[in-house]
């Protein structure tokens, strides 16, 4: 057993961190995020991301987890997380036939009003229907919809659930005002849009289950990055800010809160690596491991952001301070797909018999 990142993974992490620090530090993304505008991000970065190999098929889930953690740490507004989540396993070659897939920017669209927002909830029939290779209907709460070149949509036809690819040019996007401006939510409308089926209907439920687990693991990894950045902000402030003649980090009420945040993130990191391992090894525990990682890492990120706002005091309460942005991303990750309530229910169902 060996619980460290390999040399290659450490190198990937380091090079990603260096690239992002130079090319997309959080300060540079903020005017884009706040500026609203059509994009809310810098599309030029996508070519560089592709050139770095971040979209290569050879990257495994652990590599992707390393990357989304680093991107989360700088709240990268580019749709990398969305693309990783939206790419169903095994359909890369099919997607490649449609457009410059090395540059593909994807997002998954599954949610509809009136039913649960989990990915597996989308398996029950909704109002979005595929007929004769076209799709009509709509999806809500689609992440990064205005930034992508294509959509992977969970819908239905007369056979049952379907997973189709639709080019962005065929989709109408209605953006919503979103708390986490770095990852805006939108509604999309489809009117007889050209739909490419990605997998046989009989396989959709199984693929959706895997995609939900992967998405939970990636959300957990990203949350670790967000939490880490928030913790760094809090630590820096605690070391530099003096009151009553001392740096405030010398006071246990301050330092102990930071320690607890650090501990929570570290414990969640262990769960995240375990979840990724379970998915790669197709381990029996993979569903519960991913649920555990997601619930723990996102909670850790949220709590760390709250601690940092507390430590930084009035400054942390201002728009100009970075803390609120990390906080909003952390909260978005916490509710993404499935929140605490549903995840703990699922874990309980797996580990606890219902009794007499």
């Amino acid at each position: 057993m060996d619980f460290t990142l390999s040399e290659e993974q450490e190198l990937l992490r380091k090079s990603a961190a260096e690239f992002l620090a130079k090319r997309a530090p959080i300060e540079r993304s903020i005017p884009l995020i706040d500026g609203g505008g059509a994009a809310g991000w810098d599309p030029d970065i996508w070519r560089e991301i592709a050139a770095l190999g971040w979209l290569d098929d050879e990257l495994d889930l652990l590599d992707q987890a390393v990357l989304v953690e680093e991107c989360g740490a700088v709240l990268l507004p580019a749709p990398l997380f969305s693309t990783f989540v939206a790419t169903p396993p095994g359909v890369e070659s099919l997607l490649r036939q449609h457009g410059a897939v090395r540059e593909r920017r994807l997002t998954l669209a599954w949610a509809e009003k009136g039913r649960g927002f989990g990915l597996t909830d989308a398996l029950s029939a909704g109002l979005t229907v595929v007929t004769d290779a076209t799709i009509t209907g709509g999806k809500t709460l689609v992440v990064d919809a205005a930034k992508v070149s294509g959509f992977v949509i969970v819908a239905h036809d007369h056979d049952g659930p379907q997973m189709v690819y639709v080019d962005a040019s065929d989709v109408r996007v209605y953006p919503h005002s979103t708390l986490d401006g770095s990852r805006p939510l939108a509604d999309i409308e489809l009117v007889a849009a050209s739909a490419l089926p990605l997998i046989p209907s009989a396989d959709v439920a199984g693929v959706v289950a895997i995609m939900e687990q992967r998405a939970c693991a990636l959300a957990a990894a990203e949350a670790l990055g967000v939490g880490r950045s928030a913790l760094d902000l809090g630590l820096t402030h605690a070391r530099e800010r003096t009151q009553f003649g001392k740096p405030i980090g010398a006071y246990q009420a301050v330092s102990h809160r930071l320690v607890d945040a650090y501990a929570e993130l570290e414990l969640a990191r262990s769960l995240t690596y375990w979840a990724v391992h379970c998915l790669q090894a197709v381990d029996d525990d993979r569903a519960t491991a991913c649920a555990a990682a997601k619930v723990a890492a996102t909670a850790a990120a949220v709590h760390t952001c709250e601690v940092t706002i507390q430590i930084t005091g009035g400054l942390g309460m201002t728009w100009d301070h970075t803390a609120h942005r990390l906080y909003k991303r952390a909260m978005a990750l916490q509710s993404y797909l499935a929140g605490e309530r549903r995840l703990y229910q699922d874990i309980a169902d797996a580990v606890l018999p219902r009794g007499v």
């Binding site: 057993m1 060996d2 619980f3 460290t4 990142l5 390999s6 993974q9 652990l62 630590l235 605690a238 070391r239 001392k246 740096p247 980090g249 010398a250 006071y251 246990q252 330092s255 102990h256 930071l258 320690v259 607890d260 650090y262 501990a263 570290e266 414990l267 969640a268 990191r269 262990s270 769960l271 690596y273 375990w274 391992h277 379970c278 090894a281 519960t288 491991a289 555990a292 619930v295 723990a296 309530r341 703990y344 229910q345 874990i347 309980a348 169902d349 580990v351 606890l352 018999p353 219902r354 009794g355 007499v356």
Partner: protein, 391 residues
């Protein structure tokens, strides 16, 4: 990153599992802290030793197997799954032994390590005093050189297993003229020496688990020490590192055992007729504890790499101890509260013979013993997060 056992690790695991199956004494594991039947506890520990399961990571020349810490982690994993009793020499295995290995002379290692592993000799720790607990360097128990002997006078407190111990790792003050950290010496004391009185202290659980030890003109050979006079603080730091490090795996294992008991417990109708496992809030709380147990388990595994590198647990192990204490407190409290008013019963008339309420009361000590959660947070703050010193 590889979570699966290597071929060798898997072989070790499966033969260990088989051994537990065919060698388990009947009945429940003894309470980690109060071996109810010392004779039986020693016999069980002896059988663990004879099968090669004591001192897995210790050097082969002293009776260990020279394996890397992963095997110790696997051992505790399987022990937890089997709910097997631990080796009665837990203080010897995890504190005294590693300290002797790090600081002892060849003679001392040959003298002490093998009997420790075989549970022929049981160790206790003499660190805390009424006036110095967290502030360990404030120790005032005095040792004065008289010819070839140290003469010890003073008092230690909270010493677990002192009432059954043969030897004691004792931190004493040998020099009152230098700064407090520099005037300490680490002695190895025969608990059968004249002048030693052990007084059990009754805990809030009702059980006498820890003790006061009174030293009145106790004479021990001058060479019965680790390091030199004045090295006591540094030697004690080695002990504390191990206490917080390797014990982390044992704690995680105990927590896993308690979790599996909790899962059983909630499935059975309570005294008031309700079944806790059918209650969504209870299910969510149990799920939460399951998550915490896995997090602790894999965090310990991750800390293995540092152990492998340096042989010494790092300050990150303080996180494990804090997390374990809080998790165990929550879990035992949950199980006690689920009994409703019947949770106020103890002994035979109580559900499960009062197991959970006993564990719950005892768990209040988890955040105090082996480094209080407050001190451990200070350690993480200063040594991991580089925050300014609190004191």
């Amino acid at each position: 990153m590889e979570f699966r056992d290597t071929v060798a690790e898997a072989a070790f695991r499966s033969s260990l599992r088989a051994w537990f199956r065919s060698n388990r004494s009947n009945g429940e594991a003894w309470d980690l802290n109060v071996p109810a039947d010392v004779v039986a506890a020693r016999a069980w520990s002896r059988s663990l030793h004879d099968a090669g399961y004591a001192g897995l990571t210790w050097p082969v020349e002293y009776g260990g197997r020279g394996l890397d810490p992963t095997y110790q982690a696997i051992f505790y994993d399987e022990m937890a799954a089997d709910r097997a009793p631990i080796h009665v020499g837990v203080i010897g295995l995890n504190m005294a032994g590693p300290t002797i290995i790090a600081w002892g002379t060849a003679e001392q290692k040959h003298r002490f390590l093998a009997p420790l592993l075989a549970a022929e000799e049981i160790w206790c720790q003499g660190f805390s005093e009424p006036g110095s607990g967290s502030d360990l360097a404030g120790a005032t128990t005095r040792a004065v050189l008289d010819g070839d002997h140290w003469v010890i006078n003073g008092q230690k407190v909270w010493s677990s297993h002192a009432h059954i111990a043969d030897w004691c790792i004792l931190l004493v003050r040998t020099d009152t003229t230098v700064p407090k950290h520099e005037g300490l010496t680490f002695l190895l004391v025969d608990m059968h020496s004249a002048g030693i009185e052990v007084r059990p202290l009754r805990q809030l659980t009702g059980e006498p688990e820890f003790n006061e030890i009174f030293f009145t003109d106790v004479r021990i050979p001058r060479e019965s020490m680790l390091g030199r006079p004045g090295d006591g603080w540094n030697v004690a730091m080695t002990t504390l590192m191990h206490e917080r490090g390797t014990l982390g795996f044992l704690f995680a294992a105990e927590l896993q055992s308690n979790l599996s008991r909790l899962v059983e417990f909630v499935a059975v109708p309570a005294a008031d007729g309700s079944t806790p496992a059918a209650d969504p809030t209870v299910r969510a709380e149990v799920a939460r504890e399951w998550v915490a147990v896995q997090a602790l388990k894999f965090t310990n595994y991750r800390s293995l790499s540092r152990l492998l590198e340096t042989g010494i647990p790092g300050p990150e192990s303080s996180i494990s101890k804090i997390a374990w204490a809080e998790s165990n407190q929550r879990m035992t409290t949950l199980a006690t509260r689920l009994q409703g008013m019947a949770g106020g019963l103890s002994g035979e008339s109580a559900p499960w013979n009062g197991f959970w309420q006993q564990q719950q009361l005892r768990s209040r000590g988890n955040s105090i013993e082996g480094g209080t959660s407050e001190i451990l947070r200070n350690i993480v703050a200063e040594r991991v997060l580089n925050l300014p010193r609190a004191r």
